[in-house]
Amino acid sequence: MDVSKDLVAASATPLVLAILADGDSYGYAIIKRVADLSGGHLQWTDGMLYPVLHRLERHGHIAAKWSESEAGRKRRYYRITKEGRAQLAAQRKQWQVVDGALRGIWLKACPA
């Protein structure tokens, strides 16, 4: 099962913010983490993560800096900011509303 494009796009921001709230990270690791978390069902086109990261950075939700990776290559590490955490909390509430609404109707309409 592949999750639809729109859902992937909509969930990208809260996922990235939540993963960074869990600890600083970089692009490749974030994508790995998303794949792990979703059991491989959330397939991102790898490159598309970076415009998302840059947008979040522009909005001040995350901050970035170049550091050396363990192998000695330059890598861009991202960390969540205070505003980012606030944004994450807001997004979480919105998703809970969506989730709650869906659950309510699914139990009635199509009991699994």
């Binding site: 490749y28 490159g47 415009p51 840059h54 522009r58 861009r76």
Partner: protein, 458 residues
């Protein structure tokens, strides 16, 4: 394990890198970041047992379609290629067709602008070399060409006619307020109207430029960039026009014919109007050929103006000579603030919002602070004069503008200081500048609409 020295993979990565580099939306650091990603992916795939070629194919495929990717980057970083407008069109065949149609539309609108300035002549308002220009032309200067410029943008952005119809309103209102008030000849409020109407109307042109989507910050910044480049192109065209005019006079006078009636009545006014449309088109079309000039000039003149203001302050403190408040001083200091705001605005527009604070940002802060101090000193001197001689429309207009610019600069200084101490991102400063833009036009509209009746058209 992200280096593949000595393997064919390293060559493939280099090829991929140079291919990606050709995309104008992707800058060096972005490519580096993506390459790091590619290498991580390759390391994992080869470790899992794939051959170099297989791993490379999979990794590149997972990275995604480069066209789509660079389009995403372009949307996110519109400051990098607002000029190319690649977001709107990626089909080169269609692009070639529209550009031919565009030339026709541009030439048509330029001719329309040139004819528009001649319309008043049908009603007896002539432009003649030996007579003063009727004030009608001063008051309505922007109305001859701005509506046509708006039409050009609406056409270019393929905006619907119905949704853009409301843009007629500001232009109609401008025509009304420029012409219904009974100004005595040469009154101060009439001159104020002539000076402020273009500023107020420029916002309407801006709405046409951004297709009425006034909320997205990127779009507004694009319009700021456009305005700066348009100004520079216009000055360049005007220089050329001056040379052209000079030769016209010279060669005809050499055979005993005076072409002054043609130069003053046709060449200069029609050229000045048509050039606005042509320059706008050139800004859009030729951006890829010429680098943006406004940011380059900003870089050049920011240090010079900073030094000038600092030396001025030191000299004033040293000699103790007060500012000699004459008629023009208040306007002069207004213009100084306008210039500093423009330097800040264009430095902001060209800056990579993600770059860390640097020397140039500190210099900008120094410039803004010294401008604030200089203006503070000037304002104190002017306030004394006003309390002595009372209010006139010129003084109130100049004071209002001074205040508006002061607030902008104070806010900018505050945000620059915060940014330099890494308390806030550069985006905050950019947002402040963008959010402030309508204030200028609204104040200009107030001057046009309220000042003449408030000061008895004097």
């Amino acid at each position: 394990m992200t280096s593949f020295a000595g393997q064919p993979l390293e060559g493939q990565i280099a090829e991929w890198r140079s291919f990606v580099r050709r995309r104008q939306a992707l800058h060096g650091p972005d490519v580096e970041e993506l390459e790091g990603h590619l290498r991580d992916q390759l390391a994992e795939l080869t470790e899992a047992g794939l051959s170099g070629d297989e791993a490379f194919l999979v990794a590149v495929k997972r990275m995604g379609n480069l066209d789509a990717l660079s389009r995403e980057f372009a949307l996110e970083h519109s400051e990098r290629l607002w000029k190319l407008l690649v977001i709107a069109r990626d089909d080169s065949d269609a692009a070639a067709k529209t550009s031919k149609a565009e030339v026709l539309v541009v030439v048509g609108l330029a001719i329309a602008a040139a004819l528009a300035i001649k319309l008043p002549a049908l009603f007896g308002l002539h432009l003649r070399p030996d007579e003063e220009m009727p004030p009608f032309y001063f008051r309505n200067a922007s109305l001859f060409v701005f509506p046509l410029l708006a039409i050009y943008f609406l056409w270019k952005r393929a905006s619907g006619v119905a949704s853009s119809l409301w843009l007629v309103l500001p232009f109609a209102a401008a025509a009304l307020f420029a012409n219904v008030y009974p100004f005595p000849t040469g009154s101060n409020t009439e001159i104020l109207t002539a000076l402020h109407l273009p500023i107020a109307l420029w916002m309407a042109v801006g709405f046409a430029y951004i297709r009425g989507r006034g909320l997205a910050g990127n779009d507004r910044m694009d319009f700021v960039r456009f305005s700066g480049e348009l100004f520079i192109y216009y000055v360049l065209i005007a220089l050329g026009g001056g040379v052209f005019t000079g030769f016209t006079m010279m060669i005809f006078q050499s055979i005993g014919i005076n072409p002054a009636w043609f130069v003053a009545g046709w060449l200069v006014p029609c050229g000045a109007m048509g050039a606005v449309i042509i320059a706008s088109w050139l800004v859009q079309a030729k951006q890829s050929v010429i680098e943006n000039m406004a940011p380059v000039l900003t870089r050049l003149f920011t240090p010079l103006f900073t030094i000038l203001l600092l030396v001025f302050l030191v000299t004033m403190a040293w000699t103790g000579s007060p500012i000699n408040v004459k008629r023009e001083v208040l306007i002069g200091f207004d213009l100084l603030l306008v210039l500093v705001v423009a330097l800040v605005l264009y430095a902001t527009s060209a800056r990579d919002p993600q770059a860390p604070p640097g020397f140039f940002d500190a210099l900008q802060l120094l410039l803004v602070v010294s401008a604030l101090v200089v203006d503070g000193v000037a304002l104190a001197a002017i306030a004394a004069r006003i309390s002595e001689f009372g209010f006139t429309p010129n003084r109130v207009a100049a004071l209002g503008e001074n205040l508006i610019l002061l607030v902008n600069l104070a806010g900018s200084a505050w945000l620059y200081a915060h940014f330099l101490r890494q308390r806030t991102s550069f985006a905050a400063l950019e947002r402040w500048q963008i959010a402030y833009l309508p204030v200028y036009s609204i104040w200009a509209a107030i001057v046009v609409i309220l000042f003449p009746p408030a000061f008895g058209y004097g």
